[in-house]
Symmetry: C2
Subunit: 146 residues, 2 copies
């Protein structure tokens, strides 16, 4: 696991914005040849600095009209891995994290509509020893950066 240097950061910067850029294009942007870029990207993938590549999708256009932030309060102590295993099968969950604060975890959920959101919340609550949830509906996305 070599250190991440300035060129690596530049490569990551380009690929964060243009994930399908060719190695030659990235090389032109950072001052390296295509094979040199490929070697670095392979190393960044091996080291886990770059986890993967993804299409950035407009949730609204895909029919996922509603988004909510759900604060989850658990009964007693639950291992983070237990929560992950319980929530992994729920496709409506965009992200989930354990947190330090009054809540134990925060889950970001995307659903088609309020009914679908309610069903998903019920599924989240039923998936583990959860005391209660507190949902915050997202109105409009102001800023969204990779």
């Amino acid at each position: 696991m070599a250190a991440v240097d300035d060129i690596d950061r530049a490569i990551v910067g380009v690929l964060s914005r243009h994930g399908r850029a060719t190695y030659a294009e990235v090389g032109a942007a950072v001052g390296l040849s295509a094979p040199a870029v490929k070697r670095r990207v392979d190393r960044l993938l091996d080291d886990g600095v770059v986890v993967g590549f993804a299409a950035v999708v407009d949730p609204g256009a895909m029919g996922w009209g509603i988004e909510a932030l759900v604060h989850v309060y658990c009964q007693g102590r639950i291992a983070p891995s237990a929560l992950r295993d319980a929530w992994e099968p729920i496709p409506e969950i965009v992200s989930a994290s354990t947190v330090a604060g009054t809540a134990d975890a925060v889950v970001r959920v995307r659903a088609r509509d309020v009914q679908h959101l309610e069903d998903t919340l019920e599924r989240i609550r039923g998936s583990a020893a959860i005391e209660r949830t507190e949902s915050t509906i997202v109105l409009s996305r102001l800023i969204e950066r990779a």
Copy 2:
């Protein structure tokens, strides 16, 4: 702007998880030839269903060690656009949304360390007519999907 059909959804599903998959690979997964996949992806890009492609980066490996969810309570009514303009220049903000609930907005912030986080929170508070903020520190990411 044609409708998004099931094949489009399947293509988006593959590219969400494997953003650098070849058109032939996507085609094999959805039952189409490579040129047919390209035509659909080009249309999805034109229609704004797919906004772009991005490398998924591990923030910790890049030296962004700490993440927080900041609930923002405003003084009186503030236009969403005013919040966006005020926060756009703050690079530590990963995402920001107005919400329906007790808070007016939720901001996701990434910083190098607690000191950097504190500085960023101060900057967020000073950028608009904000009454108070309530921060939740992220401990560990359980699930992270595109």
